[in-house]
Amino acid sequence: MRKGLSWFNTTSIALGFAFLYIPIILLVIYSFNASRLVTVWAGFSFHWYVQLFHNQQLLDAAWVTLRVAFLTATIATVLGTMAAITLTRYGRFIGRTLFSGMVYAPLVMPEVITGLSLLLLFVAIGLDRGFWTITLAHITFTMCFVSVVVQSRLVTFDRSLEEAALDLGCTPFRTFFVITLPIILPAVVSGWMLAFTLSLDDLVIASFTTGPGATTLPMRIYSQVRLGVTPEINAACTILIAIVTVVVIIASIMTKRQEMERQKAERLAAAG
C-alpha cells in the first residue's frame, strides 16, 4: 500500500467502519451496564454475565444450537463435497443440469420458502418436528455452500496427481483419501466452518422446522427480545461475538502463516 491516505479515503474508511461496527460496539458496551435499563448507563458490572450463566433456558438453547450446528456442518460437508466431486469430475451425465440446479437452488431461494417447503414435507411424511428436523433442514440449505467452496477448489485441481497415484499402484478409492482429500482439505474445512456458522445463526428456517423441546439460541434470543431487550441478551450476544471473532482471527492467522511459509519455501527453491 502507498503511504498517506487522501481525505476521501480516510472518510470512506471511517464511515465504513462506523456503519459496520457502531451497533456492535454499543451492544458490547451495554452488556457491561450495571443498570437493568438498556439505554441508561449506570456503571461497569459483570452482573449480566453471571445472570446469563444461571439462565438455564438460554444455556439449553445454546447447547441445542451447538449440537445442530456441529451435526449439520459435518453431514453437509460430506454431502456437499460429494456433490462437488460429481459435478466437476463426471463431465456430462443424464440429469447433470437438473442436479447442479437442485444443488444450488437453496443458495438463491428465500429462506422463508425453504423453511415453509421443508415444514410441509415434514408434516406430509409425518416426521415429529424437533432437533432432527432442524438438523435436516440446516443440512439442506448449507450443503450448497460447501459444494460451491469445494467445487471452486476442485476446478484448479491437477488431475495428473490422481493419475500419478493410480499409476503407482494405488486404487481409486485409496487415491481419494490419500491424495485428493488431503490436497483439497483446506477448502473442505472452510466449507465446514461456513456451514457451521450458517447453521449457528439461522433463525427463519429453524423457526419453521422446529418443534416442542428444540429451541435454538437465535430463536430463544428473538423470543426474549420481543418481551423487551434485557442486558442479559446483550451479554449472550457479546459472548457469541467474542467466539466468532476468536475463530475468525485464528483462521486468518493460519492462512497468513501458510502464505508466509509458502513464500519462504519459494525463495528457498529459487535460491536452489
Partner: protein, 391 residues
C-alpha cells in the same frame, strides 16, 4: 566427468548402444506390441489403426506435433485410456481392460504431478508402499533412487521447496522406484531451460543404460528425440509416418512430412528425368536449366513429380564455381544471412524466386563475412547429399 572409471563406462555404453538393434532381429520378441490400435474420442480419431513393436531395453521416442496422437498412444499403455479397437500387449499379456494401478508401467508426468503434501522421500516411497513392500526394503530403495538422481540432501523437503530441475528429478526417481517394465516419459524435459534440458537428456540415457530398462518418451522436440532415442516413431494424424533410428529418420526421411518435421530442410519440387541403377536425374522447377543427379534408388518413374530434400548443412555456398564437375551446382543471389555464432545461415534466392537455406560453420573468427548480401553465389551439393521423396 573426467576420471578414468567414468570414461570407461561411457565407452562400454557406447559399445552396447552401437550393437543394440533388436528390431532387425527376426527372432527378437517385442516387449510392447500395439496391434491395430484405434482410439476415438467421439468424432475425433486420435490413434488410427496403428501397429507398433517396442523391444526390451529400448529407448523409444514418439515424436510429432501436438494433437498427432502420441500422448494418447502412451496413455493407453499406462491405462488412462482404453483403445476403442485393437490390442496392446506388454510382455505377452493383453493389457486391455487392466486398470492403471495393476499395470507394470510407470509414468513421469509432464507436470511432474508430485504430491504437494508429501516430502520428497514420501513421494518416492509412495509406489513402494502401495505394493506393501517391507519397510527396510522401501527405505533402501528410496535411498538408492535419491542417490541415482543426486537428491540425497533434499529428502525431507516438500516439492514446492525445490527448483524446477530438482522436481523433475524427484518425478523421475518416483517413477523409477518400482522398477517398472516400461517407464513412460510424457514431455519430461519440457519445463526446463535449454542448458539443463541438454544435460538431463544425457543423464536420462545413462540412467536407462544403467538400469537396463525400457523407456518410452513422448516429445514434440525433435532434437530431444534424436539425442536420447534408439528409435524414433514420427507420427501424424494418429498414424506412424516413419519408425527408425534417428540417423535414418534424419538422413533418409520417407516423406516430405518427416523431412520437414525433423530438422531444417530445403524441399525442391522436381520431375524425374532419367533413371539408372542407383542413380536418378531430376529437373527441379527452381533451376530448370540444371539437371540434378542424386545417388539413390528411386521408386518413381520417368516424368513423375517428386521432391528433393536437401539439408542446409549439406549445401556449400561459394563465390566461385566448384572445381569438381560431378557435384550439382545451382546459382543464385544471397537474399539474407542469419548469423548464429557457430553457424551462418545463408538464404540464397534461385533465379525463379525459390529460396534455399545453406548452413556454413564459422570455422575462423571473422567479423566481416566474405560472402555478403546480394552476392552472386554458387550453391553446390554432392549427389549423395539429397533425398528424393515420392510422398
Amino acid at each position: 566427468m573426467s576420471n578414468g572409471v567414468a570414461e570407461k563406462t561411457q565407452k562400454t555404453i557406447g559399445g552396447i548402444r552401437r550393437k543394440f538393434a533388436p528390431w532387425n532381429d527376426p527372432q527378437a520378441v517385442p516387449l510392447i506390441r500395439y496391434q491395430n490400435v484405434t482410439k476415438r474420442f467421439g468424432e475425433f480419431t486420435a490413434v488410427d489403426n496403428l501397429s507398433l513393436d517396442i523391444y526390451e531395453r529400448e529407448f523409444f521416442a514418439l515424436l510429432g506435433p501436438s494433437g498427432c496422437g502420441k500422448t494418447t498412444l502412451m496413455r493407453m499403455l499406462a491405462g488412462f485410456e482404453e483403445p476403442t479397437e485393437g490390442m496392446i500387449t506388454l510382455a505377452g499379456q493383453n493389457l486391455v481392460g487392466t486398470p492403471p494401478y495393476k499395470r507394470q508401467t510407470n509414468m513421469m508426468f509432464q507436470s511432474y504431478a508430485l504430491f504437494p503434501h508429501m516430502s520428497v522421500w514420501d513421494n518416492i516411497a509412495f509406489g513402494l508402499k502401495q505394493d506393501r513392500m517391507e519397510k527396510g526394503a522401501i527405505a533402501a530403495r528410496v535411498e538408492e533412487m535419491l542417490k541415482l538422481v543426486k537428491l540425497e540432501k533434499f529428502a525431507k523437503r516438500k516439492p514446492h521447496q525445490l527448483s524446477g530441475g530438482q522436481r523433475q528429478r524427484v518425478a523421475l526417481a518416483r517413477s523409477l522406484a518400482k522398477r517398472p517394465k516400461v517407464l513412460l516419459l510424457d514431455e519430461p524435459l519440457g519445463a526446463l531451460d535449454k542448458k539443463l534440458r541438454e544435460e538431463t537428456q544425457f543423464e536420462l540415457m545413462d540412467i536407462q543404460m544403467e538400469l537396463g530398462m525400457t523407456f518410452l518418451i513422448v516429445t514434440h522436440d525433435q532434437e530431444e528425440a534424436m539425442t536420447v532415442a534408439d528409435r524414433i516413431a514420427v507420427m501424424n494424424h494418429g498414424k506412424l509416418v516413419q519408425v527408425d533410428q534417428p540417423a535414418v529418420i534424419y538422413e533418409q526421411p520417407n516423406s516430405r512430412y518427416v523431412a520437414d518435421f525433423v530438422g531444417d530442410v530445403n524441399i525442391l519440387d522436381a520431375k524425374v528425368e532419367a533413371l539408372a541403377p542407383g542413380a536418378v536425374t531430376l529437373r527441379a522447377e527452381a533451376a530448370p536449366d540444371m539437371p540434378i543427379r542424386v545417388a539413390q534408388e528411386c521408386p518413381a518413374k520417368v516424368g513423375d513429380s517428386v521432391a528433393l530434400a536437401l539439408r542446409p548443412e549439406k549445401l556449400r555456398v561459394e563465390l566461385d564455381p566448384p572445381a569438381d564437375p560431378s557435384v550439382n551446382t545451382l546459382t543464385g543471389t544471397i537474399w539474407d544471412i542469419g548469423y548464429l555464432g557457430d553457424l551462418s545461415i545463408y538464404h540464397v534466392e534461385l533465379p525463379n524466386g525459390v529460396r534455399v537455406k545453406a548452413a556454413k560453420p564459422n570455422l575462423t573468427r571473422m567479423v566481416e563475412r566474405p560472402i555478403t548480401w546480394d552476392d552472386k553465389v554458387y550453391v553446390s551439393f554432392t549427389p549423395d547429399a539429397g533425398v528424393v521423396l515420392t510422398s
